[in-house]
Amino acid sequence: MAEHYSSFERGGRRWLFQRLTAVFLIGVLAFHFMLLHFVNHAADITFAGTQARMGQWSYFATMWLFLVTATFHGVNGVYNALVNQGISGSQKTAVKYVLVVAGLLLVAQGTRVALAMNGLI
């Protein structure tokens, strides 16, 4: 086999979910950049424009799923990178819980932001 490097244990659950979220993120991250830098210039963004976009439920749902999958992909990536670097025992457990809490807080705050943009709170 050709030389291939990875921080992930191939075939494991963390590896699988990293791949599944990657497939979604490839499309939605490219879409996010296109929409907010090329279709709408970033310097022209206003709350009214954001609210108009987030007022569409399909867009709102896509952005919320973007938040959740990007958070998982990022936090899972960091965890696997650190495990791959050789952390173990209580260090590994502490890192796991810090990352889980950080991820949950980010999703909670991102959800509040999305609801404020949508006008619901």
């Binding site: 490097y5 244990e9 497939v23 990178a81 509040r112």
Partner: protein
């Protein structure tokens, strides 16, 4: 679950001249991943100004966009994101067993395509009025 991988000399960065394309792809993917996850937390923090009202949100975003350094940082973010996407597609292909014999060439293609997309995007990112 925990398993050590035989990554050869990749941790021994002093021997970087001997690194293969696959090692560089692993290092670049990891570096861009760290940048993107850091940016994700920063991005939500900035967008949290929406909780303080429409005026605060608009003024914060337009104030940041008025700074030249922010425009350059956005070009850097684009470069990081595009490489992570393109090399990510390459990794999915590798995991599916597609094009394994060309995985070094597809890494170089990711780099070249990232460069081309970033250069082509610079006028859009740097254009528009500044402070």
């Amino acid at each position: 679950m925990s398993q050590s991988y035989n990554r050869g000399t990749v941790e021994d960065f002093g021997r970087w001249r001997e690194f293969s394309a696959g090692m560089w792809a692993w290092i670049f993917h990891k570096f861009t991943g760290w940048v993107l996850v850091g940016y994700l937390f920063t991005h939500i923090a900035v967008l949290s100004t929406s909780l303080g009202g429409a005026e605060l949100y608009t003024n914060t975003l337009q104030g940041l966009e008025a700074l030249l350094v922010v425009r350059f940082l956005e070009v850097g973010l684009l470069a990081v994101a595009v490489f992570h996407i393109l090399n990510g597609i390459r990794l999915l292909m590798v995991d599916l067993g597609v094009g394994l014999e060309a995985q070094d060439k597809s890494f170089y293609a990711s780099l070249v395509l990232t460069g081309a997309i970033v250069v082509a995007s610079i006028p859009t990112f740097l254009g528009g009025p500044l402070a």
